[in-house]
């Protein structure tokens, strides 16, 4: 009798623990789960909201005419497009690529193939990582100080700014691509009597090519959307120009200038330009993703 009397309150205690503590732990968990789901929803909703508006507003104005007309409309007139800005963007990007791609790839070859573990490689990597974090507008100020002060606004100076912007991205992605190549391939090549030059050029670089190209595409996509470094290097041009050493119009700068002036037509062109820019960078990341998938297989 006395035993069962002692047992009874213990049972009650256990019930209380279950009833009082476990649900609190569960409710906290449920609340936190809902909260993190909400955060995901906020991010996805913002992205969809931006894409929806750029698509909707851009589609309305975009036409073959707008893409091929080679002068901006003068205020009050309706004739005009941004074909010359597309060409200008391509010129600036091509200059930036010509400066940064060979440079970056060869520097990455040193980091991955010849200088691995050296102090220099460590310093270069550190400085590249810091350079990645340098704001794009400072690349523009640098190009202004180095090129524009001497020779005026030019597509070339814009290319220098974008080149500085792309270089650390190229070096980092190329180095990562090279590190993915199996060491066996290098040993086999050297074992067959190849020099380091031959091994790098005929074995390592071809094997890493898809991953390297992916990195290059992503670097280009990043640079293609940048307006800040071009504001005071490539500057702007209302008319057609293919002069590498004169100012040219570019898409991002056009979107900026036309979005802050109070003319309806120009604002519509800004939306159309934004849609083109968005299409370019989205296509680039889809291509890059596709290439990555193919390499992994």
């Amino acid at each position: 009798m006395s035993d069962s009397a002692q047992l009874a309150p213990e049972k009650v205690d256990i019930d209380i623990t279950r009833a009082a503590i476990a649900p609190v732990r569960n409710y906290t968990g449920i609340v936190l789960t809902l909260l993190s789901g909400l955060f995901v929803a906020v991010i996805i909703a913002s992205l969809s909201w931006v894409l929806w508006d750029v698509g909707k507003e851009g589609i309305q104005r975009i036409s073959w005419d707008v893409l091929t007309q080679t002068r901006y409309p003068a205020p009050g007139l309706t004739e005009g497009g941004f074909g010359h800005a597309i060409v200008g963007s391509l010129m600036v990007l091509a200059t930036g690529a010509a400066l940064s791609f060979p440079f970056g790839i060869l520097a990455a070859v040193y980091l991955s193939e010849f200088g691995r573990g050296t102090r220099l490689a460590y310093l270069v990597k550190f400085s590249c990582n810091v350079l990645t974090g340098v704001p794009a507008i400072l690349c523009g100020l640098f190009a202004y100080a180095v090129v524009v002060r001497g020779s005026g606004f030019s597509a070339f100076s814009g290319g220098v700014a974008l080149g500085v912007l792309m270089l650390p991205i190229v070096i980092r992605s190329t180095e990562e691509a090279l590190l993915l190549v199996s060491p066996d391939m290098r040993l086999a090549s050297i074992g067959l009597g190849s020099t380091r030059f031959q091994t790098t050029m005929r074995v390592v670089l071809p094997a890493a090519a898809p991953a390297i190209v992916t990195g290059l595409i992503l670097a280009l996509a990043r640079a293609a959307g940048e307006a800040a470094p071009l504001l005071f290097t490539a500057f702007n041009n209302n008319f057609w120009s293919t002069n590498l050493f004169g100012p040219v119009a570019t898409l991002p700068v056009m979107v900026y200038f036309f979005s802050i002036i109070p003319f309806r037509l120009q604002q519509e062109l800004a939306w159309a330009g934004a849609l083109v820019l968005l299409a370019i960078v989205l296509a680039a990341s889809l291509i890059a993703r596709f290439l990555v998938h193919r390499t992994r297989r």
């Binding site: 906290t28 936190l32 992205l47 508006d53 810091v130 030059f197 307006a227 979005s259 934004a274 680039a284």
Partner: protein, 327 residues
């Protein structure tokens, strides 16, 4: 092939040696030259950061000599009298970045947890991961355009309501908000930088040893207790460095600030009133700047560079330390 004729065991034929030398020397020169070329380019790549710093500072020298450190605490930007100072811009840059972090830290860490801790199957998390990559890819000038024509009109009534009811809080005070403001900049920046926090936090969580998590679960911790008391403390250095990198990105973001801040050259404690940032100042003033003003803008650029370099170097060091601990 003379070597085949000599066969094994026979003394080395001097002719063969000569042949090999002749064949080998040009390609050896190419080889050595190639290695040295890559070495030189890697060294040059390491110097570019220093070159950028020195060149910008050199262009800023006239302004540095003229204004000294007073530049940092002067709240005037007057091209007519040639008096320049960036105090409002420093305030604006720090305020927008910190408020952006207040938005981005919960968004980023929450999403990273959602993506890594098994709350949803892979066919749900994979598209979300891709969408987050897309946010990074959107050019900032497009976000600025969207901010001007879509976000500002959409939030204006909300801002006005907050301003009317909570106007006694300095951060929400002032006259009825018109839209362009530091808070709008911070909101867009918050969305822009959360993918940085997501991706680094995510890979940090994925790189933690499974035994940590399994141990906590085996001791009876719930999923969230495991996350809060084991995973987050263990991955703290990764999370902190991702926040630092995001801060650096927010400080340096130009177009969003230039298009949405209102470019007002004064300190407004209220986040709902127009303000300016260092980047917005440079972008909006450079076009019509005279000599000393260009130099002053370069000086502003140097201030920005010092801020972002500090933030990035700290982040980089934290990441390196973390990597060393893992190995």
């Amino acid at each position: 092939m003379t070597s085949a004729a000599t066969g094994y065991g026979s003394p080395p034929n001097p002719d063969i040696d000569v042949d090999i030398e002749k064949k080998a020397s040009p390609s050896r020169a190419v080889d050595v030259g190639f290695v040295r070329l890559t070495l030189a380019l890697a060294g040059f790549a390491g110097i570019i950061l220093i070159w950028v710093i020195l060149q910008t500072t050199e262009a800023a020298l006239p302004a540095i000599q003229q204004f000294g450190l007073g530049f940092l605490v002067t709240a005037r930007w007057n091209p007519v009298e040639n008096i320049y100072g960036v105090l409002p811009q420093i305030y604006g840059s720090l305020m927008t970045s910190l408020v952006a972090l207040i938005f981005a830290i919960p968004l980023g860490i929450g999403t990273a947890i959602f993506l890594t801790e098994g709350f949803a199957p892979k066919w749900v998390t994979a598209p979300i991961g891709f969408a987050i990559e897309l946010i990074v890819a959107i050019p900032s000038v497009v976000l600025g355009l969207w901010g001007i024509f879509v976000l500002i009109p959409a939030v204006r009534p909300i801002f006005r309501a907050i301003n009317q009811t909570l106007g006694w809080i300095p951060f929400f005070g002032g006259p009825a908000p018109r839209g362009p403001s530091l808070l709008i900049v911070a909101m867009v920046l918050g969305i822009m930088i959360s993918p940085i926090i997501i991706s680094i936090t995510r890979s940090t969580f994925e790189s933690l040893p499974r035994s940590l998590k399994e141990g906590a679960l085996a001791l009876g911790a719930t999923r969230w207790e495991t996350i809060l008391t084991v995973m987050i403390p263990a991955g703290l250095s990764g999370i902190v460095s991702s926040i630092m990198l995001a801060l650096g990105r927010a400080l340096g973001e130009t177009m969003v600030a230039a298009m949405l801040s209102g470019n007002a050259n004064r300190i407004n404690i209220s986040l709902m009133q127009p303000g300016s940032t260092i980047t917005a100042l440079i972008a909006s003033q450079f076009g019509e700047a005279g000599r000393l003003q260009v130099s002053a803008l370069m000086y502003a650029g140097v201030v920005l560079m010092v801020l972002t370099l500090l933030v990035n170097i700290v982040a980089e060091i934290i990441i390196r330390k973390f990597q060393n601990l893992e190995q």
